[in-house]
């Protein structure tokens, strides 16, 4: 590999990274700038973070987002794992159909799904609430969990379970002592993935959240529409670091290379 090509490749990679991270870095830095109008020169100040800590709306929205994401993650991971388990260990007709059914929810634009859910809840006379939010979030997360866990189960050698059974372990014991420990990385990955998806989700929350209950993305969106203030930078910076850490942890578990 010639030196020239190596250098060009590295430079290009750097450029792309600048593109991907540039604005985020700027935004984070501006969160530490005293000026409320993003004016230079730069003066380091934590004033916006302080204001953030007293901003009830944002804090409540953040708490809502976290609680919601937790609930959604637990539900989606649990249900999705059960389904993935069934698909990998049982043979039955229609398995292929079930596999294909996962694709639409992943690719259909969330706007359409959100609209549809809104209409359905309205028609069923179910008022918008945290419940409707959970239904929606779990709905869009389930396919991802099924996908991740299916791959995990496929990679899991079934002869391990057969060996356990041949040694006298019943189905539950086998699951508990053999299968479960081996799929824990996949479970963790599913949980974190779902958490990130739910926490980040704007579209569904925008349509399905009830009055007075806001999630963080919705709150940030509203603030932006009202005008730029560095408080938004502050909370955005915190959110960004949070998701970065989440990615770093879960990346060890998710095998992207099939």
């Amino acid at each position: 590999m010639s030196r020239a090509i190596s250098t060009i490749a590295s430079l290009y990679a750097l450029l792309i990274l600048v593109f991907l991270y540039g604005p985020l870095v700027v935004m984070i830095i501006m969160g530490f700038n005293r000026s409320p109008f993003y004016e230079l020169p730069f003066q380091y100040d934590l004033i916006w973070f302080q204001k953030l800590s007293t901003n009830e709306r944002i804090l409540t929205a953040t708490r809502n987002s976290i609680v919601l994401a937790f609930a959604v993650s637990i539900l989606a991971t649990f249900l999705g794992t059960l389904a993935a388990w069934a698909m990998s260990r049982y043979h039955f007709r229609g398995k292929n159909i079930l596999r294909i059914l996962i694709i639409p929810p992943i690719t259909i634009p969330w706007l359409i799904l959100a609209v549809a859910l809104l209409l359905m809840f309205y028609w069923l006379k179910i008022p918008r609430s945290l419940f409707t939010l959970v239904v929606g979030h779990v709905g869009v997360s389930l396919p991802y969990v099924i996908l991740i866990m299916s791959t995990r189960f496929q990679g899991l050698d079934s002869s391990l379970e057969e060996a356990a059974r041949s040694l006298g372990a019943g189905p539950f014991t086998t699951f508990q002592r053999i299968t479960l420990p081996l799929i824990i990385p996949g479970l963790v990955a599913s949980f974190m993935f779902t958490f990130a998806v739910s926490f980040d989700n704007f579209t569904l929350s925008h349509f399905l959240a009830p009055q007075g209950v806001s999630t963080l993305p919705v709150e940030i969106y509203t603030s932006i529409r009202k005008g730029f203030t560095p408080e938004i930078n502050a909370i955005s910076a915190i959110v960004f670091f949070f998701s970065a850490i989440l990615v770093l942890f879960s990346s060890r578990e998710i095998k992207f290379v099939g």
Partner: protein, 287 residues
């Protein structure tokens, strides 16, 4: 295990998840379809009847056609830009950059991809606005072109979309390129192919399935984007997605919104089928 017990346990495992999907995805979409044919929202005692007016409204006004076309085109540009920018990146990562940095690069590409969309777009808004970083930068260079303001233009929307979807393309292409064994390229070299020929005749065709997968993951969701146009597009930010959102949030014309949404769904499904077909025909490329 008896047949019945087996069937029972199978159902017990599958029904919760797929039942939820049916309730949260299939049922709502069906109801949305129904709504699109109704004259009004069924509140209380209001009379509601079946009508094709909503559809007529769409098909008769060129405005909506143009808007749909604009959204499709925007998706196309986004996908194209992601391919053009992402391919060299994936190639560098898969074939050129030494192994020890690959994992780190991979990580670095994923993080923005998973960070909050609103946060991401907001950061672009800060950079692109009048008086923002980019503007100040060009002013400091002495370029006098009025103020450099990309925010609230169509280009800004594209930037926001590409920024969000680029990692998809980089990652799927990286996986595809990584799977192509080096021995194939060495074989080509031993047969006399120069660098360009090795790329064009061997590497590129074998990376096509990955590229199409990436395209599917980008093109289809991008059609329904409305956050990027809203936050970055200003007046240029009208697309089919924003119109749909308007029907529900601003105009309370839910039936028409349902109609637009359903039509968008049909378009999405058509493209999904098309791209899926192309993908299947290239599947044999994978050794």
């Amino acid at each position: 295990m008896s047949r019945w017990r087996r069937a029972f346990s199978l159902l017990a495992l599958l029904v919760p998840a797929y039942g939820w999907l049916a309730f949260a995805v299939l049922a709502p979409l069906t109801i949305m379809l129904v709504f699109s044919f109704l004259s009004d929202v069924p509140i209380g005692e209001r009379a509601v009847f079946f009508t094709l007016d909503n559809y007529r409204n769409f098909f008769e006004h060129i405005f909506y056609w143009r808007l749909t076309a604009k959204s499709l085109l925007t998706s196309f540009y986004t996908t194209l830009l992601c391919i053009l920018l992402g391919y060299p990146m994936a190639l560098a990562m898969a074939k050129v950059i030494p192994n020890q940095w690959r994992a780190a690069l991979f990580m670095l590409v994923i993080v923005p991809f998973w960070s909050n969309t609103i946060v991401r777009l907001y950061s672009w808004a800060i950079v692109l606005r009048k008086g923002g970083v980019l503007d100040l930068f060009f002013q400091s260079l002495g370029i006098q072109m009025g103020s450099f303001e990309i925010l609230y233009t169509y280009q800004a929307i594209l930037i926001g979309l590409v920024h969000g979807y680029l990692p998809y393309m980089v990652l799927t292409l990286y996986i595809a390129l990584d799977r192509i064994e080096n021995s194939l390229l060495e074989a080509a070299a031993s047969l006399g192919a120069n660098a360009w020929q090795r790329f064009w005749r061997i590497l590129f065709p074998l990376s096509l399935p990955g590229m199409i997968s990436g395209a599917i993951l980008i093109y289809i969701p991008a059609i329904g984007s409305f956050v990027e146009p809203r936050l970055l597009g200003g007046r240029a930010g009208t697309m089919i997605g924003t119109i749909i959102e308007d029907q529900f949030v601003q105009l309370f014309k839910w039936n028409f919104g349902a109609t637009l949404s359903f039509l968008l769904l049909v378009i999405v499904l058509i493209f999904m089928a098309l791209l899926g077909l192309i993908l299947r025909r290239t599947r044999f490329l994978r050794g």
